[in-house]
């Protein structure tokens, strides 16, 4: 055995070092890239079934993945210093765009979220998912940690200004994600537990007050979460049907393309926000556990990479990318299984649709940049 290892050692090392060289040149982390690729591939397999063999949809998703990957590769090459210096500018641009949306935004499905830029529709709120944690990390970079009360006030302002604009669109899901992205930065910066608990309590209080200012359908969604059976065909329909889909899947699922809830249209939004339920129905607990394992790997690797970063900005931003990704997964899985209210959060890399894929991959591009340039930072 030892003999064998030794005999193959040189060749293996050469091959590995060859791949490693390529990755190094691309500023890419191999395991993370593989984890992301596997997750996306799994997502495509599921989407093919969930979309009822809709090839154009699959092609569009593939295109977005390619675009996202290209951006990821490009961002990974950018120096973290540049990223840090660009942070306030990016943040400022994001706020301006959100104001523009409020002024001249494109109304789609009752919500004003889109900016019509000729051929592409652009959601500035997606930009803010990255710009807010960047801004927070930038703000904390030069300051001693844990942050003081004055810093917290400033951070609160940094986070809540765009959140207020996004929530007004109205897009509660994205607003919540932006809060989460900023909050995890503050959390990783060493916010004292006492303060954290106080803030959570304040948030709950704010939510109760906020409930009074919510749009009818937003309040409905929250109340429905508390008692879905009260409106079986109304607002509770999503939750009931998704739980039926997941539950009826059992341990091994009904088989690919054989989930009756998904294939017979009983499961609403089955290619987008509720695709998790399609996996649960067709691949069962085993399929979901596999997906969650892939996510766990991606998140774990991301945290590991963040820990290696030498400076505050990189660590905080990297950790934020990892934890925000987790928040996506948790909220989506929790929503589909009835653990958290129905908020429009896609399942990252699996749900069909729009800018979310690009945003997620851009985030990982930033993370890879931070990690791969760590030696240069000092």
């Amino acid at each position: 055995m030892i003999h064998e290892e030794i005999s193959t050692d040189s060749r293996t090392r050469r091959t590995l070092s060859g791949a490693a060289r390529v990755l190094l040149a691309l500023k890419i982390d191999g395991p993370l890239a593989v984890g992301l690729a596997l997750t996306a591939a799994y997502g495509l397999v599921v989407l093919y079934s969930a979309s009822a063999e809709n090839t154009p949809m699959l092609v569009r998703t593939l295109m977005r993945l390619v675009v996202g990957t290209v951006i990821m590769l490009a961002v990974a090459r950018i120096s973290p210093n540049l990223l840090r210096r660009a942070s306030p500018w990016l943040y400022g641009l994001g706020v301006l765009l959100l104001l523009a949306v409020a002024a001249v935004g494109h109304v789609h499905l009752g919500a004003k979220r889109w900016l019509d830029l000729g051929p592409i529709h652009f959601q500035p709120s997606e930009l803010m998912k990255l710009a807010v944690p960047m801004m927070c990390a930038w703000y904390l970079h030069e300051r001693p940690l844990p942050p003081r009360a004055r810093d917290l006030g400033m951070l609160g302002l940094i986070i809540l200004v765009p959140v207020a604009l996004v929530a007004k669109e109205p897009d509660l899901g994205t607003a919540a994600l932006i809060i989460a992205a900023g909050a995890v930065v503050v959390f990783l910066a060493g916010l004292r537990v006492r303060v954290l608990v106080t803030l959570v309590l304040l948030a709950v209080l704010g939510a109760v007050v906020g409930l009074r200012f919510m749009h009818g359908y937003q309040r409905e969604r929250l109340l429905t979460f508390l008692n879905p059976e009260a409106h079986p065909l109304g607002a509770g329909y999503h939750i009931i049907q998704s739980q039926i889909a997941v539950g009826s899947g059992g341990l091994f699922g009904k088989g690919w393309m054989a989930g009756s809830q998904a294939q017979l249209d009983f499961l609403p939004e089955r290619t987008t926000d509720f695709i998790f339920a399609v996996i649960g129905e067709e691949f069962g607990l085993v399929g979901l556990a596999l997906l969650l394992l892939l996510y766990a790997f991606v998140i774990g690797r991301s945290i590991y990479l963040s820990m290696q970063c030498p400076d505050t900005f990189s660590r905080l931003l990297g950790g934020s990318v990892a934890l925000t990704f987790f928040v996506y997964v948790f909220i989506n899985a929790g929503m589909v299984t009835g653990l958290v209210p129905v908020v429009g959060v896609p399942l990252p890399l699996v749900s069909y649709g729009g800018s979310s894929v690009v945003t997620v991959l851009t985030g990982f591009g930033i993370l890879m940049s931070l990690f791969s340039h760590r030696k240069l930072m000092g």
Binding site: P144, P146, Q241, I244, G250, S260, L285, L292, T312
Partner: protein, 670 residues
Amino acid sequence: MSPVRIKDHWREQRMFIRRAWFAGALMVLAALAVLGRLYYLQIIRQHYYEVLSLDNGVRTVPIPAARGLILDRNGEVIASNRPTFDLELTPDEVPALEVELEHLVRLGLLQQADLPELIRTIRSHRSFDTVPIRLDLSADEVASFAVHRYEFPGIDINPRQARWYPFGGLAVDAVGYVGTISPSDLAHINQAAYAGTAVIGKTGVEAAYEKQLHGTNGYRQILVNALGRPVQRPGALGRELRVEPPTPGDDVILSIDAKVQRVAESLLKGHDGAVVALNPWNGDVIAMASSPSFDPNLFARGITEKQYRSLVEDPRQPLFNRALRAELPSGSTIKPALALGALTDGVIDAHQQVLAGYAYHLPGSAHLYHNAMHEYCGEMTMRTAIIMSCDVYFYRLAHLMGIDRISSWLPNFDFGRPTGIDIPGELPGLVPSKAWKAAHFRNPAQREWFPGDTVILGIGQGYFLTTPLQLAHYTAMLAARGLNFKPRLVTGIRDARTGQIHWKRPVLQGNLSQISPASWDVIVRAMIGVTTKPRGTAYWQLRDSTYPIAGKTGTAQLVSEQAKGASNEESYKAKGTLEKLRDDAWFIAFAPADAPRIAVAVLDEHAGWGSTGAAPIARKIMDAYLLGPDGKLLAHPGRGPYSEPSNLKPRALAGVAPLTPLQRATKPQP
């Protein structure tokens, strides 16, 4: 003063790592929560959700059973089925019921006037059962709906077997008809068993034998999508779908002889009246008709409000089943029954000569009761009184019997109570009594029973009421010398699966053994005399019959209730000829008189005297039944491939004494 804070990179990195581990722990907890939830949903409650998902996508579609056929005794199919297209609605899947129905009205598929009743019916169904909203679409209507189908979620065209009466109104008063299931029908059926069934028996045999005719519906599981539309290519999802074929309803075999029935109906055409013909030896209804009639296919197809209104508002009342429900005075047809009562109770001697003049004078009263034609009877025995239908003789007889004897005697012939025929709807008629009159009238002056009330009962006038079915039943009892068979329309049920026929035994309800053979001879001879003696009231119509007929005419005077109470000449005359025109003619007969095979009662409303209007009808019905194509008496009249086997005698007959042979009646003189 807070101490000056300096950035400590080493400390910050350690803190980040601590925080990261902390976050990692939180994430593991959250992941465990999700996995725990998944374990609960997918492992613990998997069965529950599997059932729910099946409920979602798998719709159980009923397959209605083909309704059993209704055959006559010759095997002629009177009620069958034919393929049609119906419009069906599933309440659960219709977002806006009224809107869609209004839209169908605009397409001309529904009538505005039918909507309220239709909506009521739809709402009384279970919301997941399909409700037929329009039966029997034409090809054009099918096409016009198909074009707009996508505008009507929850409404679809369904091919099915619809009830079809190939001969229209043939025997409709016996067979009845089916119609769409109404809210009141739903109250007394098992809705699950009727899921998918469009129609239900409303009257007659269709209603009475609904259970046998309906059969057992099957079902088929189909896949539907969230819009309720069937999935055309279920693929892997279709593996578990099940089919349970329906069991067709059993066929019902009628005692009706379609040949005789047709004759009866054609004879009644243009008249208002009814015919009932019975087999005296088992209660079989050979023919039963009421005129005017109607086409039951109207109901089977789903009658529109307008069509229904025109039937209901027709002054001749085509929907009125006269055979079962026309309660009228019997006229003189009651006389043989009263005579038998008087003989049995010893009130009168049959051979005693009684001088019956122009009128009967009630002792202690100045009032005179005339013969109907104001004729003179002369010296009368019971026999001649029946032959001539001498009213004066029977005024006296009734008076001698008295109301108490009469009111307890007549129910022996099932007067005043239902005959027990095996279809619903018959009325009991009325045998008046002192107690009845006391209870019936409010006015104290009318509540007392007057001797005059009894006297006119002697000729079947006054309060006494009977139906054509009751008169036929009574005639059959005269023919069978007191044997009382329950009238029946259904002789057998043919099992749909085995094809085997289960014959029903005739039901002997009673036997008037208290009447002596001698009394029977007197009455039957007298009734033969009615058709064979020149003075007989039906002589001129029936004298050329090749077989002896025992008959009795009757004329029911339809005088107003008030005039009936008094029944004096003044009030009768005051009604004038108009009232006279409304007299209903009765004729009852059985034949051949020496070995009776058929007993008939004919009602010809507003026809005047019984002999002219009703007797020829009875004659032709009996001819149709008894005579072969060569004009000779058939050995086994009414025997057909589906007539009951001759060995099926009622068990009760075993103890009945053999009939006394009746002297063969002499042929009438030309």
